[in-house]
Amino acid sequence: MNAPVTAPLVVASEIGAPAERIRLGLGKAAPLGWLLGPGLLLFYWSVGSASGYIDPRILPAPWATFGTAVELFREGRLQTNLAVSAIRAGEGFVIGTFAGLVVALISGLSLTGGYLFDGVIQMKRAIPTLALIPLVILWFGIGETMKVTVIALSVFIPVYLQTHNALRAIDLRYVELAETLGLTRAAFIRNVVLPGALPGVFLGMRFGVMAAWLALVVVEQLNAASGIGYMINLARTYAQTDIIVVGLVIYALLGLLSDGAVRFAEARVLAWRRSLAA
């Protein structure tokens, strides 16, 4: 028989509480905390304008800018120019994305296609698309074709690069699996390569959307007769700072909205990843 063991009795208070550790992680983010910075900016802007510290010719007050936007809307100038800009960017985006996808599929899915296209596009990538504008103007004139072409070219590059990368980066383990399952090349591409590359396609499209707005801003500074850029340029001629600010805010909203749209589509199509992130 074992004799009962008498362990020394230790009272918790004698040991003390567990050592307090310094928390090195960032901790939990406050909901809507990201609004602090933009909120402060708006606050300083309002205070500066109300106190007269900011000259309205340099930067009009927030409420004046808002009033201008409402007025532009009533006159119909805002929506007309907005529609023109959105159509330009949209056309360029659709054409650029389509072309980027098609060429990336050709060069990503076959070695020959890669030899044919990838080198050329990597070279093109070294030239900023906006630097091509003089050439595009000589080819297509100063009209809509030139504008849509420049936007489409800007979208093409990121969509191509990300899609091509994603197609070539297919996990070797899945290639082995497909071989052991005896998949045909077509079934392999349909079931393994394309779905595996979709996240890359969406990444390319998100870069593409941003590139489209950037290119739009630049081409609309070039002899445009309509569009948000035209509205801004005209306002510069008449020193209407408030209209310029409205135009810039519109650009920002368009960028955010279209990025949100692509992310929404991404979440729908890549449902298999959704609960992974949650």
Partner: protein, 235 residues
């Protein structure tokens, strides 16, 4: 007894996984063979050669393998963008693909999970899906490359029972690569040991008759000694 696999004079050089220096191996139809050996002894190289996925391999020798070969990898290797059922039936053709897939899932006790995404399953469940996927091909040879190596001990025991039951029902020839001597004895009809790319031992497993635990321990001690490990249970 018909032969399912016949390997003669198989060599593989310059591989990262371990070379093969002239391997001869026969596996009878329906026979369960465990392949053990130290890391780098060539176990995986041999399995990949039999699976026909060692395209870059240099070497020669003769391999005769059945037409229908299924492979189960250490990772379940499910496509994350396909539902469990779509993973099981991937690459199958015919009118009753769905029914066959559901039947295979029922066999691995995953009925009702066919619409789940792979990442919603536990590691053991994912490996069961992989087993179901290999079964739907009705393989004459099942190659398994440390299929339970990444699972916890309890799940591994359950998977042993499942694999034994499935192999008794479907009777494929099985080549199970494992580093777990207990697993090899528990499951296989024969244990083949590779050392430095050669077959170092080929031992039938016979645990019938009285004193099964004693026979198990004796075989375990013998295999571990061949692997250069002193068995603490045999001492």
């Amino acid at each position: 007894m018909t032969t399912a696999v016949r390997v003669r004079g198989l060599t593989r050089r310059f591989t990262v996984r371990g070379v093969l220096n002239g391997v001869d191996l026969d596996i009878a139809a329906g026979e369960f063979v465990a392949l053990v050996g130290r890391s780098g002894s060539g176990k995986s190289t041999l399995l990949r050669a039999l699976a026909g996925i060692d395209h870059e391999a240099e070497g020669d020798g003769e391999i005769i393998a059945p037409a229908r070969v299924s492979v189960v990898f250490q990772d379940a290797r499910l496509l994350p963008w396909k539902s469990v059922l779509a993973n099981v039936t991937l690459g199958l053709t015919g009118p009753d693909v769905r029914r066959r897939g559901l039947a295979a899932l029922a066999e691995v006790e995953l009925s009702g999970r066919e619409q789940a995404w792979p990442h919603e399953l536990s590691g053991g469940e994912q490996q069961r899906v992989a087993l179901a996927r290999s079964l739907t091909r009705e393989p004459q040879l099942l190659l398994a490359d440390e299929p339970f190596g990444a699972l916890d001990a309890l799940t591994r025991l359950r998977m042993h029972a499942l694999l034994r039951r499935l192999s008794e029902t479907h009777r494929p020839a099985v080549l199970l690569v494992t580093h777990d001597v207990d697993e090899a004895i528990e499951l296989a009809d024969r244990v083949v040991m590779l050392d430095d790319g050669r077959i170092a031992a080929d031992i039938p497993v016979d645990l019938t008759g009285p004193d099964r635990p004693g026979r198990f321990l004796a075989l375990r001690g013998r295999l571990l000694a061949l692997l250069g490990v002193v068995d603490p249970l045999a001492a």
